[in-house]
């Protein structure tokens, strides 16, 4: 399975970024048993978008083949886009990217079924 985690830096040791649409980066982790393949994709284009950053971020996550997203929170437009691609969303991540990944794999994160922040441009 492929998991996307919003991050302010690169790789598993970077601190998470709680934002989704304007997150600095996405760390993509392919999990295969004990194997972890890690790749960091920057989110620069979306961060500067005048509007619809969350929607574009959803597309980026989808385009990179992630089926699971770990982040701080998502707004309603981003949620709608992610939901349309059947991407599972887990919110409330903390610590480093590696911490968030461990939390998810250990079942400590709650799946989100709706936007948990108000939308904005």
């Amino acid at each position: 399975m492929k998991i996307a985690i919003t991050s302010s830096g690169e790789g598993l040791n970077a601190p998470v970024d709680e934002r989704f649409g304007r997150a600095a980066n996405f760390v993509l982790v392919e999990v295969d048993g004990d194997e972890r393949k890690v790749e960091t994709v920057p989110n620069t284009q979306n961060r500067q978008a005048a509007q619809g950053a969350g929607i574009q971020a959803a597309e980026t996550v989808h385009r990179n083949g992630a089926q699971i997203l770990l982040t701080g929170h998502v707004g309603p437009k981003a949620f709608r886009a992610l939901d349309a691609a059947k991407i599972e969303i887990y919110s409330g991540i903390k610590g480093t990217v590696g911490d968030a990944l461990d939390d998810y794999l250990a079942g400590r994160l709650q799946q989100t079924h709706g936007a948990d922040v108000e939308g904005h441009w």
Binding site: Q51, E118, W121
Partner: protein, 290 residues
């Protein structure tokens, strides 16, 4: 960290003056002037700009007269009447949709990024302030509001502030909607007049739509105590509690003219009322203060 937005619906009820006083009274806050169309808070808080950046809000079409053969395709397609008979683009009407650009048979049209204004992170005597100046006749104020709010969250988090105080704009369209999202509470400054009541009621509907809890304060209340009470009753019916009334006080304008914050300038009735309102607000916001 809590976010408090100060709104009114109607313009001129005293939002900015009240926000300036609250800024003085708050011990650990950051401030945002979200009235980017007609920003006034800086006239009272006197911010010193530490960081400024350009704001680009979209695109404007530009027609190259050398390439243009005046076929009129662009004019036929444009829904905003932004291209005149001389094939010049009116930048105020152009929405930057690009329809003309990719349909021009001569590739004579390009889209240019629209520099709409500037935003600033500044220091005031009481804490950091994020504000902006929209360019003359620029648009997309909602996006600029969203941007400065996001910056204020970054600054407040970095400096460990427990409150962001946001001075909102009049009305209830795009800039107000952009300032409403994600706030913990709205403080409504009402004036005791028929316009004040009418505009407040529409605003309450908007806040209800976005599920933002609100409190009301009637300013210049003794101009019409009956109307002040009517407003408070109407608000209470909608679950919006009153945090007090501010009486009409000549000191308010005198302070404004002097470029000073009311609670510094005066110890009169209005200043005292504002202080009491702040005490009640603190309780409602669950702000812990040392």
């Amino acid at each position: 960290m809590k976010q408090l937005l100060v709104l009114s619906g109607k313009g001129g009820t005293g939002k900015t003056s009240v926000v300036a006083s609250l800024a003085r009274l708050a011990k650990n806050a950051a401030f945002v002037d979200a009235d980017v169309d007609a920003a006034d808070l800086h006239l009272l808080l006197h911010p010193k700009v530490q960081h400024r950046e350009d704001f680009y809000s979209g695109f404007v079409a530009k027609i190259d007269p050398e390439r243009c053969v005046e076929c009129g395709t662009c004019r036929d397609l444009c829904r905003y009447d932004a291209i005149n008979e001389s094939f010049e683009v009116d930048s105020f009407s152009c929405e930057g949709c690009g329809l003309c650009e990719w349909n021009c048979p001569e590739e004579a049209i390009s889209l240019e990024e629209n520099l709409s204004g500037q935003w600033f992170i500044s220091e005031t005597a009481n804490g950091p302030m994020v504000h902006a100046k929209l360019g003359i006749a620029a648009d997309n104020s909602g996006k600029l509001v969203s941007l400065i709010r996001e910056k204020s969250r970054e600054v407040a988090e970095k400096e460990g502030k427990d409150l962001i105080l946001i001075d909102g704009s009049p009305g209830l369209g795009c800039p107000v909607i952009a300032s409403v999202s994600g706030v913990d509470m709205a403080l409504l400054i009402a004036e005791p007049t028929p316009s004040g009541l009418h505009d407040l009621e529409r605003l309450l509907e908007l806040l209800h739509h976005f599920q933002v809890p609100a409190f009301v304060v009637v300013n210049k209340a003794d101009l019409d105590d009956t109307m002040a009470e009517k407003i408070e009753v109407r608000c209470a019916e909608k679950g919006v509690k009153s945090l007090g009334r501010i009486p009409f006080d000549a000191a308010v304008v005198k302070a404004l003219v002097a470029g000073e914050v009311l609670v510094d300038y005066s110890a009169g009735a209005a200043a005292l009322a504002v202080k009491k309102i702040w005490d009640r607000l603190k309780l409602e916001l669950n702000l812990l203060e040392n």
